[in-house]
Subunit: 209 residues, 2 copies
DNA sequence: AAATAAATAGACAGAATAGTCTTGTCTTTT
DNA sequence: AAAAGACAAGACTATTCTGTCTATTTATTT
């Protein structure tokens, strides 16, 4: 089974991808191919030609939509972030009950994410890890993504009436990062539960309601 | 100030590098240059020629010591891991008091690490993030490194007489990973303290002595 | 001093890289 | 039917990549 077939199979299961079925217009096909290859094989390691072959498009088409590889990388990261957040917050919106329940549900949703056989970690963490230490382009995108997560966490923290909203949000954020990295390295989704217990511990300690 | 000068200055401050002074023999010079470039600019993004220029060696010399770039990467990761562990456990060995104090001191040592202006995150986390999802070569090296850390944590957990040694070790490991990533992204060393508080919280909850 | 080992400089091969450009086909809109 | 635009196929440039090889020089050892 080659990459393309595998991707469709896996992503139909996970349900947070660009699309369950292969997109028909060229731009989306390029985005989909680039996303898969960048995230699974690395940004620098993935050549334009490889993306073209996978997307089944011509080179001129790619450079008609994106002025450079760097711009394509940016577009992919933004799209990955958008898609992920929609999926993630969508799942959390279904959770009924107080904010505390919703925050703890974060780790159940993470466990589902980690359990996807095609799980490759967080694209932003991977990108910051790969690119130059002083490359602020990628760092800004990652910051922006995390900021939206932290904003959500702060809103929950306020609802939970914790004494230090920012510190609670930071704590949960650290637990999320730690769980992602641990799960990515070990391929063991249960690290989400370890992180969840730590979150419970924190929330209990600060008297979250 | 160019990279080479900067490296020496910074690393003399941090004290966990290969050597405070530039090494004289060719092999060490290659290792030192490769370490710096791989860790700061990425593994794939760093070319052999760039390493040679920085190390001031000939190409034949490099390929006389390492049969390929991949082998050099492996050697660099192993050396980085060895150096880091020596520094890290050395710092912790200086901590007096019960195991609980020693485990919490982990996060103080991490904060020092994060505070180094040349801090680039954990080479293993970065390498796993960059290389192919299915590349087990790098993953094995990372596993090996983390395993040694977890082994140490388990030993402390036993001394602390916690009910579930493995779970406590996993928890601290998740906190370490989370702190590293959060600090790397934000360049904010104080995430070590956030992680520390979470660790205190866990240890208190499981009744560590 | 002679012999051996190690490092230097750099040419070179072969493949891959990002990006440009031309030509032709197909589809949609007017 | 005609015009317009999107796309495919692929040639092409110019650079960079890893890795090999030769020839020369420096260091070390015998």
């Amino acid at each position: 089974m080659d990459d393309a077939v595998q991707e469709v199979c896996l992503r139909q299961g996970s349900g947070w991808s660009f699309a369950a079925l292969p997109p028909k217009n060229a731009r989306d096909r390029i985005m989909s191919a680039a996303s898969f290859l960048f995230c699974n094989h690395g940004f620098a390691a993935t050549g334009i030609d490889t993306i073209l072959t996978r997307a089944g498009t011509a080179k001129a088409t790619l450079y008609n939509h994106f002025k450079s590889k760097e711009e394509l990388i940016t577009a992919v990261l933004e799209a990955e972030g958008e898609t992920w957040r929609t999926w993630f917050f969508g799942r959390l919106a279904d959770v009924t009950g107080p904010a505390r329940t919703r925050v703890l549900a974060v780790f159940d949703v993470l466990e589902d994410w980690f359990s996807d056989p095609g799980f490759y970690g967080c694209p932003f963490i991977n990108a910051v890890a790969e690119f130059d230490t002083n490359d602020d382009t990628v760092r800004r995108l990652a910051d922006q993504h995390k900021e939206r997560l932290v904003t959500w966490l702060k809103a929950q923290a306020i609802e939970m009436q914790v004494p230090d909203v920012a510190e609670t949000a930071r704590s949960i954020a650290v637990l999320i990062d730690g769980a992602i990295v641990a799960a990515q390295h070990s391929r063991d989704a249960s690290f989400a539960r370890t992180a969840r217990k730590l979150a419970e511990c924190h929330l209990a300690a600060v008297g979250a309601r």
